[in-house]
Symmetry: C2
Subunit: 576 residues, 2 copies
């Protein structure tokens, strides 16, 4: 391709809309253009890179035995009602009505469609296992589309769905995808790590996320350098709060517990306020009482005063993603007190979920369910009827690894892939049953596997850049080689050689761009660095007079190369 024949609208200035490096570079390198918030056009070079990522995904999915198909974006709501997700997932749906006023959902994911399809096409264990995938455009009504392709209204996903006869066989399918994902991100030049993840509204049994460490990521990964434990913070557990910050365990003292005692705390309505004089109760000796509405029913959540609620864990604990904090009115109606004076002592009017950190805790302080009063000497086992012991807290940095006891670290990251073991939730509800060898009808055991293809493209840029621009891995670069003749007049020595090397590289199947613009060398070099082609071949009169051209790897130094060796040298460099 010749530079003047394509469109590479590089920008000197960074558009104000871009907050993170990769978003800035996508725009500055002319790879995408914004149509509207969360909606981007892939320009010629952006699309080339995207197609290369797609092709890597496709090759590895095919290698793992998955079958590519293509499902519609528009989906009938009836199948979402069957799966039970019409309500739980509806917040992210875009919905349309056709001229007959019938509603359709723009698919944010395709479990319902594929399971319905399989219900109609698969009837015998002989047809299993099967793993279907597609590379397809998804739609999500994001609360806040941002960071370019990272969180867009419309994006490309590779989504795959496996169907197996037994749980054990499903585990094999899961592992195949796990391995394929590892290869895919490697081939894309991405340092991605697999971490234990929460299953969220997807339901299912367990899952891993593939995370690209990046300060601008919207996720947090908890990891242990000693034993390689790693998990999304939504899922991560620890051996308990850091010993450094909490010298006391909450277990009962050796002596007999003190009697429950109510005391006046006028105007004290925060954990923080109670830590101060005259009360001086350390936060970790307080019980935090949160009241939520889950599926329109009130529930009580208890945690240590210095712990933070992890909403993903709440979903797992209560089995529903449909929740919100209760309003002050709802709370007062149920408990007879306002936030700041709440507690669960002897409270039985709603289910009580307590964080496991509170198990056996004694000598605790909590609200008395009476405005302006608290209880001290609360012994959880004695004084509170806990219905469910659950994990509700977010792990904090430096807490002990639950596997090896070493201090945990936390790092921000971008989620680029997610593999789920789903079990039979969808196959049961949508009728994906098969007749097994034993003559019995059984639901297929499913897994589902997603890669954010457009997000992966941007993650590559987020992870691989410098002050001058993008540093593309060869595998996904829009063009591998940029030939930059400094003089472009037809028939000039520089242009004649440029054309010759261009033809030879094209004949070798290399993706080459020839910068045939009549621009100053500085402009051409800057653009080449900004767009980030892995290899640049400069052809100037001076070096040409010495029989040389200038080879420069992106981010590396300039190396003079004999003119006649240039092609061989480039091929060798690409093979690496």
């Amino acid at each position: 391709m010749r530079w003047t024949q394509t469109l590479i609208p590089t920008l000197k200035e960074t558009p104000a809309e871009a907050e993170i490096t990769s978003h800035k570079l996508l725009l500055r390198a002319g790879l995408v253009r914004k149509l509207s918030g969360g909606l981007y056009t892939f320009m010629p070079l952006g699309l080339r890179a995207l197609r290369k990522v797609e092709q890597i995904v496709r090759e590895e999915m095919n290698r793992a035995g998955a079958l590519e198909l293509l499902m519609p974006a528009m989906q009938p709501p009836e199948i979402w009602e069957k799966s039970g997700r019409y309500v739980t997932a509806s917040e992210v749906f875009f919905k349309v009505r056709d001229r007959a006023k019938k509603e359709w959902i723009l698919g944010p994911t395709h479990e319902e469609v594929i399971t319905t399809l399989v219900a109609g096409e698969i009837s015998s264990y002989r047809q299993l296992p099967k793993n279907f995938y597609q590379i397809q455009t998804k739609f999500r009504d994001e609360i806040r589309p941002r960071f370019g392709l990272m969180r867009a209204k419309e994006f490309i996903m590779k989504d795959a769905y496996s169907f197996d006869v037994t749980d054990e066989l499903a585990q094999i399918s899961y592992q195949k995808m796990y391995d394929a994902y590892t290869r895919i991100f490697q081939r894309c030049g991405l340092k991605a790590v697999a971490v234990e993840a929460d299953t969220g509204v997807m339901g299912g049994k367990f899952s891993h996320e593939f995370m690209v460490p990046a300060e601008t990521g919207e996720n947090e990964v908890v990891y242990c350098e000693a034993c390689n434990y790693s998990a999304n913070i939504e899922k991560a557990v620890s051996g308990g709060p850091s010993l450094a910050t909490h010298t006391h365990k909450l277990s009962p003292p050796d002596s007999a517990p003190h009697a429950l005692e109510k005391f006046a705390t006028p105007g004290v309505v925060t954990i923080e306020a109670l830590t101060k004089a005259p009360h001086s109760v350390p936060a970790h000796r307080q019980i935090k009482t949160l009241v939520y509405m889950v599926d329109s029913k009130l529930v009580i959540l208890l945690m240590r005063g210095d712990d933070q609620l992890n909403e993903a864990k709440l979903v797992a604990a209560v089995g529903s993603g449909n929740f919100r904090p209760a309003t002050a009115d709802e709370i007062f109606a149920a408990m007879g007190a306002h936030p700041g004076s709440l507690g669960a002592v002897n409270f039985t009017k709603a289910p009580v979920y307590a964080d496991t950190q509170l198990r056996d805790a004694a000598e605790m302080t909590t609200g008395a369910n009476e405005d302006g009063f608290h209880y001290r000497n609360v012994s959880v086992e004695r004084d509170i009827k806990v219905n469910h012991w659950v994990d509700l807290r977010s792990v904090q940095v430096s807490e002990a690894c639950s596997s090896c006891g070493k201090p945990l670290k936390i790092q921000r990251a971008i989620e680029v892939g997610h593999v789920f073991k789903l079990g039979t939730k969808y196959s049961e509800k949508l009728g994906a049953l098969f007749l097994d060898e034993d003559g019995k009808q059984k639901p297929a055991v499913m897994g589902c596997y997603g890669i954010g293809v457009t997000r992966t493209l941007q993650a590559i840029i987020e992870q691989s850049n410098d002050k001058d621009g993008i540093i593309w891995p060869v595998s996904v670069a829009p063009y591998t080689v940029c030939i930059t003749p400094l003089g472009v007049a037809a028939g000039s020595a520089t242009m004649v050689l440029a054309e010759k090397i261009y033809s030879e590289l094209v004949a070798q199947g290399i993706d080459v761009i020839l910068d045939d613009r009549d621009e100053r060398p500085g402009v051409k070099f800057k653009d080449s660095e900004l767009v980030g082609f892995p290899i640049r071949l400069g052809i100037g009169e001076k070096s040409l007079a010495k029989g040389e051209v200038e080879l420069k790897l992106r981010g590396g130094v300039l190396t003079p190369v004999k003119t006649e060796e240039a092609v061989a040298k480039i091929l060798e460099t690409i093979k690496g």
Copy 2:
């Protein structure tokens, strides 16, 4: 690929939903499955064929110098308001609202998006010409989705948009696309013909449609075998009504015209009724008076009684696609009479559009705008104030070709492509201006070019099949070769040879499927014919004993081939 590893859900019975051959075969060969009306999943083999069509389109677009990009499906309505099509095209829009209640349009086409993009990126004549294309999913709220992929709610289009400095250069871009389309359909094995077409709501100057002749097509093409004239019936003109059926011209007789005469026609409210005794006025001597509301204003349309209104021509005539027949009440309020007694004699309260067939017509009969009365001896020039002489009638079979006078033919056809010369309509409205060599700012001259990719796939099947199934052209077949061992036991002579030939063909880059199912030969052969692989290689014990395998071209006869020559023979056949 092995048959047992993929999913080819062939059907013995034709699903009741399928009306036309290609739709039946898409389903029966397991290429697609219906999710809902107008929404189809491409199964593994259907997707393979689709991708091959896409790749042919891509290669020819690239060869013609067009640049691939990818625009979002979701579009902001603001740009449609700017172009003026928010109202005129809104009937086919699917619209969504996001959580902020803002409206978005699911793009049925992308003129507005690309022109907005170009407005931002192109500023100088030096950057032109440019032609951008994408292969992308479109959405249309069809009145009646039907015939499978032919008229779907969601479908894949290749849409391209060219931008040029002058009208003459735009003509070159148009011709390049015309030529590329010709090659694309040829390479897809389709007999497609380019015909003159109406520009419809797209506006623009002129256009051609690429039509695949087929009895089940939703279009009608008028053509002349003598001089190669061909046009969509929406656009077609003729030298006038057939001489065979109309011996009289409508021009005035030599004698002086008779005076206008009103006569009673109680109960006579159709053209047909007036042809009967006692009035006996032939249809071609009647004036048909139609009343339409165009952009909410009344207009009168006059045609010969035996002619049919062509609504596409009405759009061209009145310059709006926003019309409907007036209601009886609206008509009575404006004209003082009811349908059946209408006429335009001395009528001036609304614009009168008359079909050119009525020019100079005399001795005509028409309604008197008084219920139960008609006029005879109407001389159009003398008695009717015609505001616009226009072409409103549909050409009928056997009318004279306007170029050469020979009788025209009419054939049904499937529209697979459409090229438009748009002019500056969109570039002016959406600001796609460039600074020309002369220092003046000018709007880019545009063309737009569409191919229904999914429809093309189905048109191939509609044109190429027999009683046994699909007959794929090699270029787009899901697999080129189907190897059919009759015994599939591991280690059996038939299977060992099948595997060997399979490996050799795969190594040669041939798309091969190995039918490794343990099924009766009849079942395997029938499926192979149904899916329509171009080449089948049968491997049976009997012929193997003679050192032979059986090569069969789809639709051809079975030819014994020496075992060791099989691969060479297949390669030769494919190159063929």
